[in-house]
Each structure stands twice: as C-alpha cells, then as structure tokens.
C-alpha cells in the first residue's frame, strides 16, 4: 500500500522567548519579542502502516513536532496533512483530572480524543485488564502512584482504535514488566497495520519497533533512513555534546593523558576485528602496583565491558599501557570510555570519566549486543 498518512511540508515553528522571565509587554515597556525557532523547514512523510521513530538530542524539536501533529499548537508556516483519526500520547495520563476516579477519567480521556462513549464501554474491560488497576479504578487518581497513573494512561490510549498513534517518551515510564507490555502492545498495534510515530530516547526500543527513523537536531532534519543508520548518526552527534565530567580524579601520583583505539592494520575498529587500545599516562612518583581499567559505557549509561591491566610498576615519566584484543566483540555503535588507574589494593590514583567516545564500525553483523566467537559443525545421530 502506498497511501501516506502524514505529510509535513516545510514546517516551521517559533516560540516567543522571555529572557528575563517577564513578558515583553508592559504599559511603559515594549520590546519586540525575540523568537526561538523550535523547528525550521521540516518536511517528511509517514506511510500508512509504517512506524516512524523520531530521535534527536534534547531541544531538537521532537516534542514540538509531536505537538504540531497532535494539533496542540499551530506552525508559523508550512503545512501538515493528516489522513485518519489521530490519537496522541504526549504525556501519559495527560488530561486526567486528579479529583476524579480512574473510571471517570477513562471516559473523560476518551471524550477528549473524541471517542464516543459507546466505544469506550466496549473496550473498558480490556483497558482495565491491561492497566491491572481493577481494585483501584473507583478511587480518585490523585491517590494513584505515578506508576499507576501511567499504566492507566497508556491503557486508554492503546485501546481506543485510532488510525494513527503519536507516542512521546511513553516507554520511559513504568516498571520493566509494564514497559515490556507496552512494547508488546505497540508491536500488536503496529502489526494491525496502523501508523505509529514514536519519539523516544530509548534507542533500543526505536531500533526494535521502527521501520524508519527521522533524526532531528536543532529543529532541522539531520537525516532520515534505516533505524540503525540514524541511531548511529545520532550517537555520533550526541557524543560531541557530552560534557566533560566533574567527577574526574586527579592529583595522585599518575596523570591520565588520553586513550586511542586502532583496529586491524591501522583501520577503524570494527566488530570481529582485532583492536589495540593505548592509554597514555605520566607518573610523577614511583608506583609499584598500578592497575589500569578502560571501561566501555553504553549510551544508556550501563557498563558494557572493561579492559583491566595486570599489576604494573610505573616509574617516573611518560608511558603508555597497551591492551591487545584479538577480536572486538562489541557491536557497532557509539560508546563512551572511562579511564581509571588504581593501586592493587583499590585506591584510585586517577580517573577520567567520559575520557573519549569509542565508535565501532559495522563488521561482522549479528543481532544483539555482542558478537560471540563461534564455529559450528553438523553431527548426525548414528543409525
């Protein structure tokens, strides 16, 4: 099917900025408003049944884009055409009234989206079951925990048949079990042929759920294409914006100068290839039990893996510790690297958090997080 559900053409949106916190108006004071351009000439389209991911750093215009699509506000120029009934989840539980019960809120929420009461009645049991809030449904939602709030909000949005679903950061909330159910439900909605626009910082979810990804930076389209390509592009942009950390530790007997990564034959590091990591240092005193650690951190902040040196004796002067890895198992993507040097007993001599980005180019392609070295053979059962 080649039908297109959303067409955005040269969409721009600006906001008035009040730099000093006061409005520009006043009886004895008038300044021309300064404008901040949240979106600049953004064009894209979303085909019917497609799941489009939107990624970008904070302030890149993702939420503004969603707000325009959801008709919450209007663009300064440009046009968006939407074919089909659209339901937006800009914030889970948006439109809930805290004094009303969960049940009343389900109907109120549906009415806000223009869904007839009859349809909600039919779906109510599904909504209730999905939310898992059966015993609290008649309590006012102000007594709900934030998790309960979110569960109810997502349950409503995910069970009212919209042609197009806009989801903004909805996966970032709720516990793991609920997130998993959200993912499954989105997958289900997706399979039923409906169009989804998903905004998320959860890049793994974007990669898993989306057919195509739109990358926004500073209000402009920086790229559009396959999820893995766009996510990688985004990670490279994001890495340049990572600030130097304040939690560095210096002043010990060792100064860490930097780290370099070299792949096979001087090429860039690739999955499956050999890798050499060199950490340069300067010792200002004799250290006879230094242990170097190079930690690779996923964009999510979790540690992916680390290289740990054997106990070494450092004499005063400059030097380098070299790690030779016969095969780089990490998947393509962008990681950050922390460097630490400590004594054998664990006393940290120097530490550099986010010392450098580490980019792995695609090499051996596998699904998942790691390439696991393997061979295989066929065994026949003896007859």
């Amino acid at each position: 099917m080649s039908a297109v559900d959303i067409v955005a053409h040269n969409v721009s949106k600006s906001y008035r900025v009040h730099r000093d916190g006061r409005s520009g108006r006043g009886l004895f004071r008038f300044r021309p408003a300064e404008r901040f351009w949240a979106l600049k000439n953004v064009s894209f389209d979303v085909r019917r049944g497609e799941t489009l991911g939107v990624v970008g750093p904070n302030g890149s215009g993702k939420t503004t884009l969603i707000k325009l699509l959801a008709r919450i506000t209007s663009p300064d120029s440009g046009q968006i055409t939407i074919a089909g009934r659209l339901m937006s989840l800009v914030e889970v539980g948006a439109g809930f009234h805290s004094e009303l019960s969960g049940r009343d809120n389900v109907f109120l929420n549906a009415a806000i989206f223009g869904v007839p009461v009859g349809q909600v009645r039919k779906r109510f049991d599904h909504i209730l079951e999905f939310s898992g809030l059966a015993e609290f449904i008649d309590a006012p939602v102000k007594t709900y925990s934030s998790g309960m709030f979110v569960r109810l909000g997502f349950a409503v949005a995910a069970h009212l048949d919209a042609d197009i679903l806009l989801l903004d950061e909805v996966l970032a909330v709720g516990d793991l079990a609920f997130q998993a159910r959200c993912m499954d439900r989105i997958e289900e909605i997706r399979r039923s042929g409906r169009t989804i626009l998903l905004v998320s910082h959860d890049l793994a979810a974007v990669e898993r759920l989306c057919d195509r990804v739109l990358l926004l930076t500073s209000g402009e389209v920086a790229g559009e294409g396959a999820p893995s390509d766009m996510i990688e592009k985004y990670q490279i942009i994001a890495a340049t914006r990572i600030p130097a950390s304040g939690s560095n530790l210096e002043g010990g007997a060792v100064v860490l100068h930097g780290v370099s990564f070299v792949g096979r034959d001087g090429a860039r590091p690739r999955t499956g290839d050999a890798l050499t990591v060199r950490v340069s240092y300067e010792a200002t005193a004799l250290v006879d039990d230094a242990v170097f650690t190079v930690s690779f951190i996923w964009p999510s902040g979790y540690i992916c893996t680390e290289l740990v040196s054997s106990r070494s004796t450092l004499v005063v002067g400059h030097g380098c510790i070299v790690f030779d890895c016969p095969m780089l198992a990490m998947q393509r993507g962008l990681y950050t690297v922390d460097l630490t040097v400590a004594t054998d007993a664990g006393r940290v001599l120097a530490k550099r958090v986010r010392a450098a980005p580490f980019r792995v180019d695609p090499g051996l392609i596998v699904q998942g997080d790691f390439y696991m070295a393997h061979s295989n053979r066929l065994e026949r059962d003896p007859n």
Binding site: P75, S77, G84, A94, H97, E99, L108
Partner: protein, 278 residues
C-alpha cells in the same frame, strides 16, 4: 478501508468558515462538553462535607442575609414582594453571569496542562464553565420559586418567559467568557481587573434595586445596557411584574448574537496558538 477524515494543520480556517466550522466541531465534541461541565460541578462539591447541599445553601444563606438587611434598612418599594425575594430574583441571573465570566477566565489558565497536552476545541473550557454556572442558576431559580410559594404567592404563568430570557443570558455569558478567556492570555491584567469590572456592572444593573429607582432622564441610557434589560426581565418574569417589552428583549437578543459571533470569531482566530502563550 473506510474513508478517513483528513485534516490540514497550518493553514488558517478561512475567515468566513471560522464560526460555522468551530460550531460544527463543538457539536462533534458535545460529549466532552458534557463531561467537562459535570466534572466541574462534581469536583466542586464531591469532596466537601456538605456536598451538593452547598448548591442550595449558598442562595439560601444569601436570602437570609438579605432578609436581615431588608428588615434593618427597609429597602425600596418592591411591588408587593418581600425585599429579599425581590433581590434574589435578580441576583441569581446576575450571579450566573458573573460566575460564568470569572470561572471561565480562571479555568482557561487552570487547564493549561490539559491544553498543552491534548487537542480539543478550546472553547469547551469557557463553555463548560458557563454551563456549570447555569446549574447554579437553575437551583437558585427553583429556590426562589419555592420561597415565593412559601410566602403565599403563586408561581406566575410568566415564569415560562424565563426560558427565552435565560437563553439570551447564556449567549451573553458565553460571549463575554470567550472574550475574557483570550484577552487574559495576552494580558493577565484581565484576571486582576475582572472583579472591578463586575462591581461596576453590578451597580449599573438593577440587581440590588428596581430599575424604577433610576431617575427618569437616565432611563434611556440605562436601558441600553442589555444586561440591565435581561436581569430586570428575569425578575419580572418570576414575580409577575414584567416591565420589559418584547421589543427590548429582541434588541438584547440581537446585540447578544452579534457579540457572540464576534467573540467566537476572535476566540477561534486566537485558538490555534493560544497554548504557546498561556
């Protein structure tokens, strides 16, 4: 596949279509209008100890105060009706008008989080405020009728006139609520100045005195105020002493409709980006 509705965002609705398109959309969202109205009432009373009794208690208490004041001060010649009832009959429509305006203005700001996160026709916020105030008017009017019967009067046949009069009153309340709602987004002064404006209106409207108390040479200007006509007509219908002519009511209705059209047009023009300024 069924025919899908197609909407275009970013091109303003043509000027000539703005009011009809807005009203058509409002009709499509009537369920939400109903919900919001009921919720406003519910939320107001459900957590209070007296609950819905407040809706009756407020006009009743006021009636009590007026009785005391009436006894002490004497009051105006009130065409054979006890002073407190005479006042209550005009105070309820006035209160409806004033409450509509002040709650609309407050609710637009209070609904910021809702307006910022979902789309719905924004006029539902002032309209539901007006309708919630209308419920109070109905209760107060019913109470006035009960009080009339208790004091030995009968409910006059002219009470049926209350319906068209209320209808015109609603048009006015809605028009001013719409105007205030958009005005205060740009100028927060509106919310501050509104009580002052209402005070001024209260004294130029025959609420606390009969319009007969206005000096003859001011009468012509005085009756140009449609609100004065409506309040006087409302009271007249309740106590069977109608002093307002049909022509005057038609005048009020026409002015009201023109005002409403202007206000609705202005609201619909400001609506698409009003969220940015709230």
């Amino acid at each position: 596949m069924t025919e899908r509705p197609t909407i275009t965002i970013g091109s303003a609705t043509p000027v000539s279509r703005r009011v009809p398109a807005g009203l058509a959309e409002l009709a499509a969202y009537r369920e939400l209008l109903g919900y919001m109205t009921v919720n406003r009432l519910r939320v107001r009373y459900q957590n209070s100890w007296l609950g819905w009794a407040w809706a009756v208690l407020q006009p009743l208490a006021f009636l009590g105060f007026l009785s005391v004041v009436g006894l002490a001060v004497g009051g105006y010649a009130t065409s054979g009706i006890a002073y407190p009832l005479f006042i209550l009959a005009s105070l309820s429509p006035w209160t409806f008008f004033a409450t509509s305006l002040s709650t609309s203005a407050a609710n637009v700001l209070n609904s910021r989080s809702l307006i910022a996160k979902v789309y719905f026709p924004r006029d539902i916020v002032p309209f539901s405020s007006v309708l919630a105030a209308l419920a109070d008017l109905a209760i107060a009017t019913a109470l006035t009728m009960v009080a009339l019967v208790c004091t030995g009067h009968s409910i006059p046949a002219t009470a049926i006139e209350l319906l068209p009069i209320s209808l015109i009153l609603i048009v006015y309340a809605a028009a001013f609520s719409l105007l205030l709602s958009i005005a205060q987004i740009g100028f927060r002064d509106v919310a501050i100045g509104l009580p002052l404006l209402l005070q001024g209106l209260l004294f130029t409207t025959p609420v606390l005195y009969p319009s007969g108390a206005v000096p003859e040479h001011w009468r012509a200007i005085y009756t140009l105020n449609p609100l004065a006509l409506l309040v006087e007509a409302f009271r007249g219908a309740l106590i069977d002493k109608q002093t307002i002519s049909l022509a005057q009511l038609v005048y009020a209705a026409l002015v009201g409709l023109v005002l409403f059209a202007i206000a609705y047009f202005a609201f619909k023009t400001a609506e698409p980006t009003m969220v940015d300024e709230i």
